[in-house]
């Protein structure tokens, strides 16, 4: 392998299930202490890649190094894994579950149960059974079960899928804390906002391949394009363009799209339209984000859905959306 400082390294990694190629020639390198987010919709190959890296499945071809060992030979005491859709025995309490997973490691490696529960914010709920915890609490408990051995390298496979935004942010806090302590985190997600928020680098995965990787803001700057101000009126787009002289206006399915409008300029554009008696029915201002980068690089055949790349569109801090007369 090329990078001796890498916690995870893969070269030409390929995994085939019959006719289906789940992972197709992946090259990647994750440095020690780095948070790497692998992003892509369901079926992109993220989980299969994690399985190849953790040694829970055998790649069809390629080389993998995890903590400078083959996955099958790596010192498991140094690894942590939260598998996708993992569910533990649900009749055990939060404390018992942490103790159960702690019991699988040598005593000198195991963290104190109360400290682990405290770290994930579940010290007060330690006597509650898993089945009685909220979705966010359950996920944090599963993260706790993955860090009982203070791992050097932690794999989190879609740790926030299916939980509400508040629960998701609770998990983010835990990951940020682990990262600040120097733990290398390999995270998969289909939430672009999550990848942007948590990771040092993002890998965009599409149909088994990593189509691009880099820091989220660099990817957005390079591939995201400019901001877009979308206006819906009863007037024609040509009429809107006539009013907004000096702006780049184009027609997209009957909506007027004004390119490269800064947040400061939004009110100016609306004033111009109002002074020209153009009634704005609805408008939306959008700055490019990781989702735009993904769409640009992966193409239209991977349109995000509500179940995969959805939530950030309505939660993003950089979106300004409203409806109604005159904006």
């Amino acid at each position: 392998m090329d990078n001796p400082a890498a916690a995870v390294e893969a070269r030409g990694l390929r995994k085939r299930y019959g006719e289906l190629i789940a992972v197709d020639g992946v090259d990647l390198s994750v440095d020690e202490g780095e948070v790497y987010a692998l992003v892509g919709p369901n079926g992109a190959g993220k989980t299969t890649l994690v399985r190849c890296l953790t040694g829970t499945t055998e790649p069809t071809a390629g080389d993998v190094s995890v903590l400078n060992s083959r996955p099958s030979a790596v010192d498991r005491v140094r690894l942590g894994l939260l598998p996708q859709q993992f569910t533990p025995p649900d009749r055990l309490t939060a404390r018992e579950l942490v103790e159960y997973y702690s019991g699988l490691y040598p005593e000198d490696r195991v963290r104190e149960t109360s400290a682990v529960l405290d770290e994930v914010g579940l010290k007060e709920s330690d006597k509650q059974r898993y089945r009685d915890l909220s979705g966010g609490q359950k996920r944090r408990l599963l993260v706790a079960a993955s860090i009982v051995n203070d791992p050097d390298l932690l794999f989190l496979d879609e740790p926030t899928t299916g939980i509400d935004p508040a629960g998701r942010r609770e998990v983010w806090r835990v990951v940020e804390e682990l990262s600040s302590q120097g733990t290398t985190v390999f995270l998969t997600t289909h939430y672009m906002e999550e990848a942007s928020e948590l990771s040092d680098r993002v890998g965009l995965m599409h149909q088994g391949s990593i189509v691009e990787e880099g820091a989220a803001d660099e990817l957005v700057a390079e591939h995201g394009g400019g901001s877009r101000f979308t206006i819906e009126t009863e007037e024609t787009v040509d009429a809107v363009a006539g009013v907004l002289e000096g702006y780049s206006v184009r027609d997209e399915d009957g909506l007027a799209i004004v390119e490269d409008v800064s947040l400061e300029t939004v009110s100016k554009v609306l004033d111009l339209l109002e002074s020209s008696d153009v009634t704005v029915q609805e408008f939306n201002w959008h700055t490019p984000d990781l989702e735009d980068v993904y769409m640009e690089l992966a193409g239209e055949d991977c349109q995000p859905t509500d179940s995969n790349i959805g939530p950030q569109a309505s939660e993003g801090d950089d979106d300004l959306t409203t409806g109604g007369e005159g904006g």
């Binding site: 953790t54 829970t56 993992f86 009749r91 055990l92 018992e96």
Partner: protein, 235 residues
């Protein structure tokens, strides 16, 4: 083991089917046997291996098969595979827990049978060995069933489909001679047959049980090896 035992005690249905259900069946059988019909012509103690088979056979089959199927569906093995725990450790721990539960349930069944029959049974180390090795063998078979079925429901259905016929064909309640001729070879192939004959010989009839124990031990070894090899540690 501690976690497994806690999980068990917090499942009322599991506790019922391991401890109460067999006692109910024993009581029913005892009543049928006492009725002195043609079918159950032997003494109560003759059917003790059959009574014990309710827990020695059915408990590990249903528990291990469903545990394996559930563990695979819930990605528990994938998690365990990245810890220092080995497949052998996992199977041993579950076998020990099952043996402890089955030994306790067996003690209850023996006590009920002795009370019903009004006879005394001496403790025999050989009888304990039969229970131990049979539990290992059937735990192994449970893992195999859990591995080859696609879901937890399928695992339970198949463990019942395998367990209940074996329960009645394994020289427990029905004499092999009373069965149709074409069933006899099947009887000789069932591990439970050797458990029943050996346990009976070791506790009641003072006959030779060495051959039967050897067969049960071979089945236990085969079950152990198959279980460890087939546990779905990797996807």
């Amino acid at each position: 083991m501690k976690a497994e035992m806690k999980s068990f005690t917090r499942k009322p249905a599991a506790v019922f089917f391991t401890f109460v259900f067999p006692v109910i069946l024993v009581a029913l059988f005892a009543w049928v046997v006492e009725a002195e019909g043609d079918l159950f012509a032997r003494s109560q103690t003759h059917y003790l291996p059959g009574y014990l088979a309710f827990v020695v056979l059915l408990t590990p089959l249903s528990r291990l098969s469903s545990t394996v199927a559930r563990g695979r569906d819930h990605r528990r093995f994938e998690k365990l595979a990245t810890t220092p725990l080995s497949r052998t450790d996992w199977f041993l721990a579950h076998t020990i827990v099952n043996f402890a539960l089955i030994a306790a349930a067996s003690a209850v069944i023996v006590a009920v049978t002795v009370a019903a029959a009004g006879v005394e049974l001496a403790f025999s180390p050989a009888a304990a060995a039969f229970v131990l090795f049979a539990v290992v063998a059937f735990c192994g078979l449970g893992v195999v069933i859990g591995r080859v079925t696609g879901s937890e429901d399928g695992a339970i259905a198949m463990s019942n489909g395998v367990g209940f016929p074996m329960l009645f064909l394994g020289d427990t309640f029905i004499e092999p001679e009373a069965l149709p001729w074409y069933v006899s070879p099947v009887v000789e192939l069932l591990p439970l047959t050797y458990f029943s004959r050996g346990f009976r010989a070791a506790t009641l009839e003072s006959g030779g049980w060495g051959f039967d124990l050897a067969i049960v031990v071979v089945c236990a070894v085969a079950g152990f090896v198959a279980a460890v090899a087939l546990l779905p540690w990797r996807s």
